[in-house]
Structures are given as structure tokens and as C-alpha cells.
């Protein structure tokens, strides 16, 4: 800009022979300040939330209806006890898996395939702000659906609603773990269709392994269940329906969700950097 006056260098038309020498430009121009982490995160979060009004509301309904439908189906098979608790908790967390994992994987896959990442990559914004802002927004999208599903499930299976406050911890922590996973899948998948596929598979795994009561599963499936981060959210939520919940176990389960969230969001941030500059 005009504040670089003294170091002005005349245009030196490069002839064929001299073309190899870089243009002698002295006194580099000052760099504009970059966006800081939290303001940028807030801006991305707000922008992503506003997208819900335009694009995401139908899908949020789908997520909730799907979970409610599953609970109604399971009502015929399961009555009361630990199985009912597992079904309600699993269906509620399934909403988180649908939106945070499946839809976020699709969103990042689409953004990457459509050149949308260029927009962010040419702005001085920390990669973590973009990834965390989007992940936080998608986790927030899941809150109403999760609440509706949980309340409906409690009414359907006659479970106490006093422990539903735990959702305030389950949704953000399971949301962080699943959104991080979704973002990483979307950004790492070599093609957009594969990102969608990975998101769908992740959600199907959360559905099958989370909603079905573990008592009836073979050992191999139970191991697979232990590997899925959503399981810990389901377990933590299911425990709070008991007469006297084992709070240490609840805290441990939520801790696992949080730890997976930190790792998967870090991986997603790395994947974003990798995808942004090719």
C-alpha cells in the first residue's frame, strides 16, 4: 500500500535471460493482522448456526423422527428395566450421531469438493477456529432433537425425567467426539461420496451398537461397541436413569467422550490444514 514509499522499486521488465532473478523488492509491506482464535471461532459458529435456518431444519426433523420411530418399534420388544434405559439413551444420542457425525462429514466433504475451503484458506483465520466453530454449531443443532427424543422416550417407557439435566453434559461431550470424527472423515475422504458414505456408516454403527441393548449382543460386537465414542455418551446417559446412579462411572464415560473429542478435533484440524493447502 501507499505506506511503502521509500523502498519503491522501478518496474524492471524481465528479459528472457534475466527472468531467473527474482524481482528486487525491498522493504516488505506490513502484514494485516490475522483473525484471533476466539473471535474467529465465534464468527464461524454464528455463521454456521444461521445456516440451520436456511438448510438444516428438515434434516433436524429427520434425525428426531428417526429416533422417535426407533423407540416406538423397540417398545414392542423391550419393556422396562435396563433394556428400556439403553434404548432411550441410545436413541437420544443417535440424534447427536446423525447430525454431528453424518451431516458434518457430508458438509466438510462437500465444502472440500466444491472448492469452498478456498474461501477460508485465503482468510487469515486459525484452522482450529473453522473446525471448532463448525463442530460446535453442529453439536448445538442436536440439542433440541436430543431433548425431544429423551422426553418422548421417558414418557413411552415410563422412565424418571429427573436425570435429564445430564444431557447438558452428554450433548456437548458426545457432540465434540462425534463432530470431531465427522469433520475428520469429511476432510480426509479422498472423494465427496466417500465422505458421505463414511458419515452414513458411522451413524449406522451408532444406531446398531448404541440403540440395541448390549445384553443380547455377541462378544465381538460388544468390543466394537466399546470402540465407538457414542457408546460412552449412551452409557453415561443410561446410568442416570437408575435409582442411585454410579456417578463415578458416569464421569468416567463422559471423560472418555471428552478425551475422544479432544483427539478427534485435533485430527480434524490437522486434516483441515492438509486439505486447505494442496
Amino acid at each position: 500500500m501507499s505506506d511503502r514509499t521509500t523502498g519503491a522499486v522501478r518496474a524492471t521488465p524481465a528479459s528472457g535471460a534475466a527472468a531467473a532473478t527474482p524481482a528486487p523488492v525491498q522493504g516488505a509491506a506490513p502484514l494485516a493482522p490475522g483473525a484471533r482464535f476466539f473471535p474467529a471461532l465465534a464468527a464461524v459458529y454464528r455463521a454456521q448456526l444461521s445456516r440451520a435456518r436456511v438448510a438444516r431444519i428438515p434434516l433436524l426433523f429427520v434425525a428426531t423422527f428417526q429416533s422417535v420411530g426407533i423407540m416406538i418399534l423397540m417398545r414392542g420388544v423391550v419393556d422396562g428395566g435396563s433394556e428400556a434405559r439403553a434404548v432411550v439413551a441410545g436413541s437420544s444420542v443417535l440424534v447427536v450421531a446423525f447430525v454431528a457425525l453424518n451431516l458434518l462429514a457430508q458438509y466438510f466433504g462437500q465444502l472440500r469438493a466444491g472448492g469452498g475451503l478456498d474461501h477460508y484458506a485465503t482468510l487469515p483465520v486459525p484452522p482450529a477456529s473453522v473446525v471448532l466453530g463448525a463442530a460446535a454449531a453442529y453439536a448445538s443443532f442436536t440439542l433440541p432433537g436430543t431433548l425431544v427424543t429423551a422426553v418422548f422416550g421417558c414418557l413411552l417407557f415410563g422412565l424418571p425425567m429427573g436425570g435429564l439435566w445430564i444431557l447438558a453434559a452428554v450433548v456437548p461431550l458426545a457432540g465434540a467426539a462425534l463432530a470431531g470424527l465427522g469433520a475428520a472423515l469429511g476432510l480426509l475422504a479422498p472423494r465427496q461420496e466417500l465422505a458421505t458414505l463414511a458419515g452414513q456408516l458411522g451413524m449406522s454403527a451408532a444406531l446398531l451398537l448404541g440403540v440395541l441393548p448390549p445384553e443380547r449382543m455377541p462378544a465381538v460386537i460388544v468390543w466394537a461397541r466399546d470402540l465407538l465414542p457414542s457408546t460412552y455418551g449412551v452409557e453415561a446417559f443410561a446410568r442416570t436413569f437408575e435409582q442411585s446412579p454410579d456417578w463415578a462411572a458416569v464421569a468416567f464415560d463422559l471423560g472418555v467422550c471428552g478425551a475422544v473429542g479432544v483427539v478427534s478435533l485435533a485430527v480434524a484440524t490437522w486434516a483441515y490444514r492438509r486439505a486447505a493447502v494442496r
Binding site: S2, A11, G16, A19, P22, A23, V25, A43, R51, V125
Partner: protein
Amino acid sequence: MSTGTAQAQDGTAAAAGAASDVVCAVRDLVKTYPAVRGRRGAPALPETRANDGVSLDVRRGEIFGLLGPNGAGKSTLVRQLTGLMRPDSGTVTLLGHDLVRHPGRASRLLAYLGQESTALDELTVALAAETTGRLRGLDVRAARAERDAVLEELGLTPIAGRPLKKLSGGQRRLACFAAALVGERPVLVLDEPTTGMDPVARRAVWSAVDRRRARHGATVLLVTHNVIEAETVLDRVAVIDQGKVIACDTPAALKARVSGEVRLELVWREAAPLEVPEVARLRDRAVASGRRWVLRLAPDEARAAVASVTGGPAFAALDDFTLATPSLEDVYLALGGKTKGLVKS
């Protein structure tokens, strides 16, 4: 016509702009895309050299254009100038910063308007501009103030509350341009900014650009395949073909290179009357596309050709003809440009 001679010929322009200095210097930039193995449904692609030794200088305050058909390597070049892609070899210096070594600095020196709007599509015009400003490092108040000013300047205030997705192509493009302007940068890189715009929107774009040049000496790097736009708005233009700069000069100077020729376009009603000997003679020199023939001829040859097709029996078969002075498209073809695909509108 090689890269070297092309650069050497802009001596006159350099002398005229004696006070100007180089904002962006590109030297021997090479970028090769690796070969792609064929898969089911996708054919194999050979290794492609998208940029093959590109060198150019963009001076302060000018609108510098990259003109070429699709696939010429313009966007690859721009991606390297904006830090989105690393070159295989060569250097890019922007305002004194080495962008090959520090690609992250590009975002703090320039604003980029890419061809895609995926990232902004579901936001309202106002929020797209505001968010972009905030991500460019402005605080909330400054971002809102600049947003309002830019939307007003571009005439977007009435549709500020509508999502980009619901707008027409030209309006959406203008909204993305608005987002690119929030959070002022000394260099603007615009990749086909006016695609799909009506004349009013185009005028809004160019006057906004002019205001920024007058106010801060902003420099604009413009990618286009539109010949008319290139002739009217650019100070200098680099003509790119198959990854190389085949010419670089002011539009007027480039056109002067082919001033010895005029372009004659003939449109026949059905088929060309080849039984007429004059027409048969012209056929070898014409580039035919359907019923349309394009000939580049010396002025007196052109006059003779017009006389023969409008006077004799050929006239009955003639639907339309135009005689025009050369455009940048003719320059491109005369310089050995091989690909069709420049747009005139």
C-alpha cells in the same frame, strides 16, 4: 513468441509508468499435476504441466489481467499467487514477501474472490460479508460498519437479508465480491468476478474497483476469458495459453501487433456457395464453425472479399457479414493460441 520476448516488449509501458513499482513478481513458475490412473468410469489423465515457466510483474495500482481460454492454466497460476497451492519450482513475491516459502502470508496481503461460493451459499448477504470481514481480522463493530458501507456501495442493501442460495447467479457473484471487499487489502485477486452479471452489476464492480485504486492505490489481478471485458478494464494483460505467457502488454499495444489485419465474419443462410470461385478461394483461409466463417485478412483483401460476396451470386446465400478491427481474440489466435473458448460479451 515465447515468454521471454513477451515480457521484453512492454518497455514502453514500463517507461510510461515510471513511478510504478512491482507489487507481485512471478519468476519461472512451474506447476505440474501428476498423472491420474484410470478408474472405472474415469479415464486416465496424463501428467499435465499447468504452468510452464510463467514470469510476470504486476505493478502498483494497475488492473492486471490473465486472459486465456479454459484450461490455459490461469486458475492454477492464481492458486499459487494466493498461497492455496505450492509451485513445483519458481518464485512468487507479493509486496516483498516470498509466498512460496510463506504461503500463509497471502491471506494477510490480499483478498481473493474464487469461482466457488460454496462456503457462503447458505448465509445471508449481510452475514456473508460480516463473517468474512471478521475472519479477516476486523472486530465486530468494524466488520459491521464495513459491511454496511460495501453493501450500500454495490447496491446490495435491499437484498442484504436474503441467503445467497436464493439469489440469481449474477447477484450471488456480486454478494461474494462484496465479501471480498470487506476488510480492505492492498491487492485484490478476482477470478472471473463478473460471470453471470448484468451490465448494472458489472458497472458496480468496476466502479468499486476504481474507487479502491484511487483511494489506496489498490492493485487488481483479474482472471478472465472475456475478451471485451479484458479490452475495456485492463491496464495490462498477460495472454496465457497452455501454461505459458504468450504475450504481456497493454491491450492497445497487443492489438497494434495485428493491426495489419481486419476480421471478416460471414454467415451463410445454409451451406456456403462453394460453386462460386471467389468463395471457394476464401474457404482455405476461413475458420468455419457451422454456417459461420471467420477470416483474418489484410484490409484491401478484406475489401475485395466483401465486394465479391456482396456483389455476385454469393450474395443470395449470404445471411450476414461483419467487418471489424482486431480484438484481443485475434491477438490470441495470431500469437499461436490453439484453444478456442474465449468469450465475447
